[in-house]
């Protein structure tokens, strides 16, 4: 393979993984506040459909994205509100919404199936795109990709460098302690679930308007579940979540690259491989970091800790009764 093919492969991996980055970061924000939004897969489908339909009908990409984000935010808020104000189980509500929204997207989206529609144009960043190797791969993309870079960096800064970010981390870890420090836990949970949901909606629309253009039944093919797994894989850390999204994208395109090289292997193997590899990665992470550490040489310990230590927010999925 010559370098041009590699660069083009990396470019397409980054572009096709971008919706997953949005979904992962959105769910990360929601879960960091202590709410598990399991409606992801359905939300993304409905948002992908709504975003495409709106852009198709109105001719405005902006309106398409806006509607998709609104859809994502509203569904997420149903999950948060039913837990906080109606004492319902987050997992159950999220799962039911996933199933419901997937069907709604198929039903409402019937008349938009396989229509040629608008898409987000590419835009090379002058200067940066001229860099050797990474220039074309990272900076000759569409606007949404650049937005995802900024989002990942911005969320990291928010979490680890700002006061509101510190408060966010505290409400997901120990809401009682946060409340004692004057933080309105449940209101913040609603806010972050809404923002996270909007990003999940953006993920849907960026898929149907940038990656796999248009709409069809089950268009986003399980992206929500992958995003949920990647948040865990990424240990609720924005950089690692983004890395997880790109890794999954790379595994997928590796499959399509390998297919012509090994024509005797059934294509289904290459299609299924990324999911299986993801499970292996998850198994490693879900295991006790300390246990993995003990079995490896001591000099690898810091690396193991950095990669595998997962910080499940201690208050995740736990209702907080405000006094």
């Amino acid at each position: 393979m010559d370098s041009a093919i590699i660069i083009e492969t990396v470019r397409s991996v980054v572009a096709s993984s971008t919706p997953l980055v949005f979904a992962g970061i959105g769910e990360l924000l929601t879960e960091r506040s202590g709410i598990t939004n399991l409606s992801l897969d359905g939300s993304i489908l409905l948002a992908a459909m709504a975003g495409f339909a709106m852009a198709y009908v109105s001719g405005s990409l902006l309106l398409g994205f806006a509607l998709a984000m609104l859809v994502g935010a509203l569904i997420a808020l149903v999950v948060a509100a039913s837990s906080i104000y109606l004492y319902q189980d987050q997992v159950a509500v999220g799962l039911v919404l996933t199933l419901l929204m997937a069907d709604v997207s198929s039903f409402v989206g019937l008349r938009y199936v396989r229509l040629p529609g608008p898409s987000v144009p590419s835009l090379s960043i002058p200067g940066l795109s001229a860099l050797p190797w990474v220039g074309t791969a990272l900076f000759s993309q569409n606007l949404l990709v650049y937005l995802s870079y900024l989002l990942v960096l911005g969320v990291w800064i928010w979490l680890y460098r700002t006061q509101p970010g510190l408060r966010l981390r505290s409400i997901g870890e120990r809401p009682e302690a946060a409340f004692a420090r004057g933080i309105p836990v449940n209101r913040m949970r609603m806010v972050y679930t809404g923002i996270g949901g909007a990003l999940v909606g953006l993920a849907g629309a960026s898929y149907s308007l940038c990656v796999k253009l248009g709409w069809s039944h089950n268009h986003t093919a399980g992206m929500g579940w992958i995003a949920l797994a990647i948040v865990i894989f990424g240990g609720w850390h924005p950089f690692r979540v983004a890395l997880g999204a790109y890794l999954f994208g790379a595994l997928k395109s590796l499959g399509s690259l390998m297919q012509p090289v090994y024509p005797s292997v059934p294509t289904q193997v290459f299609q299924a491989a990324p999911f299986a590899l993801m499970i292996v990665a998850l198994l490693l992470v879900a295991g006790d970091a300390a246990a993995i550490e003990r079995r490896l040489p001591a000099r690898l310990a810091p690396l193991v800790r950095a990669v595998f230590q997962h910080g499940t927010p201690a208050g995740l999925g736990r209702r907080f009764e405000q006094g």
Binding site: A177, F179, R181, G311, G323
Partner: protein, 487 residues
């Protein structure tokens, strides 16, 4: 700030936790609030610090009426509370915890926050590393952090709820020094405790609560007997320790080495006779827990031997330990000892009906009701364990133990219990010694260790002393050994 609590009433369902409680706390004093568990001390303090709303009554601060709707309101009014279980965020660093809720701005000014933090730490002789994870600190250190944080928030009234439970002797000394200094600087300190000696050592005034009501107020120097009578409504005295030690060797531990991901314990050896009580002294996390878990068969030992009544159990199956008559009572009753959500009756099924498929509810009910009567557990066989008070949870745990045991291992058997319950627990344990049970127990309370054991093993940073006779140890010597001197 002078605090006047006037005629506070607070009920939870049918239980009246506070009944017409009035207490006046003078500015610049350390005021003790004494009472046994369930006397209503914590409820009263949670009202004063904004966590609960009183049903009726009022609180005046320097003459003005205090209106509180949340703990943050109370902080704003200069009233801060240090909870028995520190109310911090374990996953965050020391500095993040310190900064949380301290400033309004957008950016974290870590440099500035760190300077404030270090200044306060230096002033009060507290040694904390700003980047350490709070979850890795001892309870005592987390308490120091919370105290420093409250001071940074500018509180003028500090409420401490049972602060000496689970902290080491030096940490306690530092805490008391700090509280004296705060009082000298004009802060008001309210010290909630059921430990007489702490109140005697620290407070200038003490108000005693019993069953939700104020029984009376005493000034230092305190008359201990009078305090006890006020707390319990009668005189309570622990019977002096009488050794039930026999000459028959029942436990033989040879160079036992235990290891966790955090610590490797030096080899420990111990021979104990039937009926002997061995106390395990040391700061929390010095290796006692590893040692106990290995003796109980929960944790594998790296090397060494454990022989009970001539049977070598080293690294055997846990089942074999149970069959041989080994039992372990952990310190965190609700987390490791009991199963949240299950009733007392169901616990007896779990503990006693190990064979068979169908549950024999009738037998379980019989044994459960007989045992809870015998152990005077306040509750019914259908009560879920988390509904019981701390003292009753411990009674329930002890009632679940089989009648005859060869080795009984207890981690902090009287933690969180009031004087009366603590004495009762030890009476039960010493009675077991009469049947030849060897008791191993860990505690951080020097008095409990010396008063209830034949011999002591002292743990310090994973090192273990030779067994020493308790009667020959002074509190000072023991304190030095715990600190790692002369080990």
């Amino acid at each position: 700030m002078k605090i006047e609590i006037q005629g506070i009433n607070k009920s939870f369902g049918a239980v009246q936790a506070n009944a017409d409680v009035s207490v006046t706390v003078a500015s610049g004093t350390i005021h003790g609030l004494l009472g046994e568990n369930g006397a209503g001390k914590t409820t009263l303090m949670r009202i004063l610090s904004g966590y609960l709303q009183a049903d009726s009554g009022e609180i005046r601060v320097d003459g003005g009426r205090l209106e509180l709707h949340s703990p943050a309101d109370a902080i704003g009014q200069g009233i801060g509370m240090l909870h028995q279980d520190p109310l911090d965020v374990p996953a965050l660093s020391v500095l993040d915890n310190f900064a949380l809720g301290l400033h309004r701005g957008f950016w974290q000014r870590r440099g500035r926050i760190q300077r404030t933090f270090f200044n306060l730490c230096r002033r009060f002789g507290v040694q904390l590393q700003p980047e350490d994870r709070v979850g890795n600190l001892t309870v005592g250190e987390r308490q120091q952090l919370e105290l420093v944080r409250l001071l940074a928030l500018g509180v003028r009234v500090v409420i401490l709820d049972e602060p000496t439970t689970g902290i080491s002797e030096p940490q306690k000394r530092l805490l008391f020094e700090t509280l004296h200094r705060l009082a000298e600087e004009g802060l008001t300190v309210i010290f909630v405790s059921h430990k007489l000696e702490d109140v005697e050592m620290l407070c200038s005034v003490a108000t005693v609560l019993r069953a939700g009501q104020v029984v009376g107020e005493l000034r230092a120097p305190f008359d201990r007997e009078r305090l006890v009578e006020m707390m319990f409504g009668r005189a309570v005295v622990a019977p002096p320790f009488a050794s039930r030690c026999t000459t028959r060797e029942a436990l033989d531990i040879q160079s036992l080495v235990v290891e966790s991901s955090r610590m490797r314990m030096a080899p420990a050896s111990l021979k104990a006779c039937a009926g002997e009580v061995i106390g395990l002294a040391g700061l929390e996390g010095s290796g006692q827990r590893l040692f106990m878990e290995a003796c109980a068969g929960i944790r594998k030992a790296q090397s060494g031997h454990l022989v009970i009544d001539g049977v070598d159990l080293t690294n055997g199956r846990y089942r074999d330990y149970l069959d041989q008559g080994v039992a372990y009572v952990p310190a965190s009753r609700l987390e490791e000892g009991l199963v949240r959500g299950l009733s007392v009756r169901e616990h007896f099924v779990l503990a006693r009906q190990r064979a068979g498929f169908l549950v024999d509810w009738e037998a379980a009910e019989q044994v459960a009701s007989a045992r809870i009567a015998e152990y005077s557990v306040v509750g019914t066989t259908g009560s879920r364990v988390e509904e019981l008070s701390g003292g009753n949870q411990q009674r329930a745990l002890l009632s679940l133990l089989p009648d005859s045991l060869k080795l009984l291992i207890l981690d902090h058997p009287t933690r969180g219990l009031d004087l009366g319950s603590g004495i009762w627990v030890w009476q039960q344990l010493h009675e077991r010694c009469l049947q030849g049970t060897v008791i191993l127990f860990a505690s951080t309370d020097l008095d409990e260790l010396v008063d209830n054991s034949d011999r002591l093993l002292v743990f310090s940073g994973g090192k273990v002393s030779q067994p020493v006779a308790s009667a020959e140890m002074s509190r000072e010597e023991l304190g030095f050994m715990i600190g790692g001197v002369n080990l």
